[in-house]
């Protein structure tokens, strides 16, 4: 077992775990943060996307030994975040959610995108969300929601 110290949604935590436990399992099973979903479990679907030091990563492929000192943000941290909150509201308004399983991952990718590029074009939105798969919506309303949130945040 190893002890890793990192932060989740602004709070410092210390966890004792096997070095090869995935960040996804630490969040969901160790900390009860079940907003982050497991989809394919091999880094391809994006359902488990979280931000690590601000950059979107697939938490199913990140191991406990790799997160020492890192800042993790999950979907549970979005409500207290300006961009995150705007995205959540825009997703509801645009009707961007159907079954909802992929949405936490989309929100995290969109959060990283808007922070880096407050005025993204449609192509840039598509690029920013290219690592997330949705089997319900056909993506159009998700793109609309991200554009709407970005527009509102620009004021």
């Amino acid at each position: 077992m190893i002890k890793v110290g990192f932060s989740v949604n602004g709070k410092r935590v210390s966890v004792e775990t096997s070095p090869t436990t995935t960040l996804l399992d630490i969040l969901r099973e160790g900390m009860g943060l079940t907003g982050t979903k497991e989809g394919c479990g091999k880094g391809e679907c994006g359902a488990c996307t979280v931000l690590m030091d601000g950059a979107p990563v697939v938490s199913c492929l990140v191991l406990a030994s790799q997160i020492e000192g890192r800042k993790i943000m999950t979907v549970e941290g979005l409500a207290a975040d300006k961009i995150g909150k705007a995205l959540q509201e825009a997703f509801v308004e645009a009707g961007a959610v159907q079954c909802g399983y992929c949405i936490p991952g989309f929100l995290m990718s969109a959060r990283a995108l808007i922070e880096e590029n407050p005025d993204p074009t449609l192509d840039q939105i598509k690029e920013g969300l290219s690592g997330n798969i949705c089997r319900c919506t056909g993506y159009v309303k998700i793109f609309d929601a991200v554009a709407l949130a970005a527009r509102r945040l620009r004021g």
């Binding site: 391809e44 994006g46 990563v57 492929l61 990140v62």
Partner: protein, 284 residues
């Protein structure tokens, strides 16, 4: 994931000492995007993981006169955005943008992509076209090996058990350069390449000089296409030259049939992608 003992050194020197000491059954983990999946699918079962995530070095892209150096722990995300590489190796930036997804590119490293030695790796054809050199470090010292002599087969390289790939370097392209990376996958992203073609050269009027072409996913390693390059060398570019070059590239391609594509399709597409890339170079 099943529990595997892990050592997490803070410096490169410590990592090299661990490799020298530990012997068999150690796997180095950098970004982990290939290795974690291989372990999950039980295709690899290391006894010990050597985790490089706490090493501060090897994370920079630098320029030193002609030479461009990329540390082994540089991520593909850094590569796709690097102002130095956009100027000195734009074909490598093009390739990085086609790898995985943003979430994978934030984790996956250039060193991992090289050492993994997949014949379909997208960063390798550009680096081979640039005639890159890899620096292999061990507690005993350093070896520099041309990337073109580094790969032995799928997953097999000349790297020794106690060595780490520390850096990849090459002579950066100048302002008169022409280059591209073209590839074909099932989709644009999150797909494994069926064929990839990289070209690097200098412009000389309407012609190219110093042409170097590599082909990915059409042999057991990424290969060079010297006959195609020699044909293009010095000829004014145009439809006719591109068509004939494509025919030669099809013959230099040595594809096999597997679950992703067939031999004949891959060989034809090696030519077609070359033609497409050459058309890009002559576009107004």
């Amino acid at each position: 994931m099943r529990r595997i003992d892990t050592l997490s050194p803070g410096t490169l020197q410590e990592a090299l000492e661990i490799l020298a000491r530990e012997g068999e059954g150690v796997k180095v983990i950098a970004g982990g995007t290939d290795l974690v999946v291989q372990v999950l699918e039980r295709r690899k079962s290391p006894r010990l993981l050597l985790n490089l995530s706490r090493i501060g070095d090897l994370r920079e892209i630098g320029e030193d006169g002609e030479t461009v150096r990329i540390g082994a722990l540089v991520t593909h995300r850094q590569i796709e955005r690097s102002p130095i590489l956009k100027r000195r190796a734009p074909l490598l930036c093009e390739a990085a943008l086609l790898i995985g997804s943003p979430q994978l590119r934030n984790l996956a490293t250039i060193g991992g992509n090289i050492v993994n030695a997949s014949p379909v790796a997208d960063s390798t054809p550009p680096l081979m076209a640039l005639d890159a050199t890899v620096s292999l470090r061990s507690a005993r010292g350093e070896r520099k090996i041309p990337l073109r002599a580094f790969f032995l087969g799928p997953g097999k390289t000349v790297i020794r058990r106690d060595e780490l790939l520390a850096e990849v370097s090459f002579a950066g392209l100048g302002p008169d350069a022409a280059s591209f990376y073209e590839r074909l996958g099932q989709r644009r992203l999150l797909s494994i390449s069926k064929v990839g073609v990289a070209l690097a050269a200098r412009r000389d009027g309407a012609a190219l000089r110093g042409v170097s072409i590599s082909l990915g996913a059409v042999a057991s390693t990424v290969i060079m296409a010297p006959r195609t390059a020699a044909f293009i060398e010095g000829k004014p570019l145009g439809d006719e030259v591109a068509r004939e070059a494509a025919r030669i590239a099809e013959k230099e391609s040595r594809a096999i049939t597997d679950l992703r594509s067939t031999e004949s399709y891959r060989n034809r597409m090696a030519g077609a992608l070359l033609q497409k890339g050459l058309a890009r170079l002559t576009a107004p």
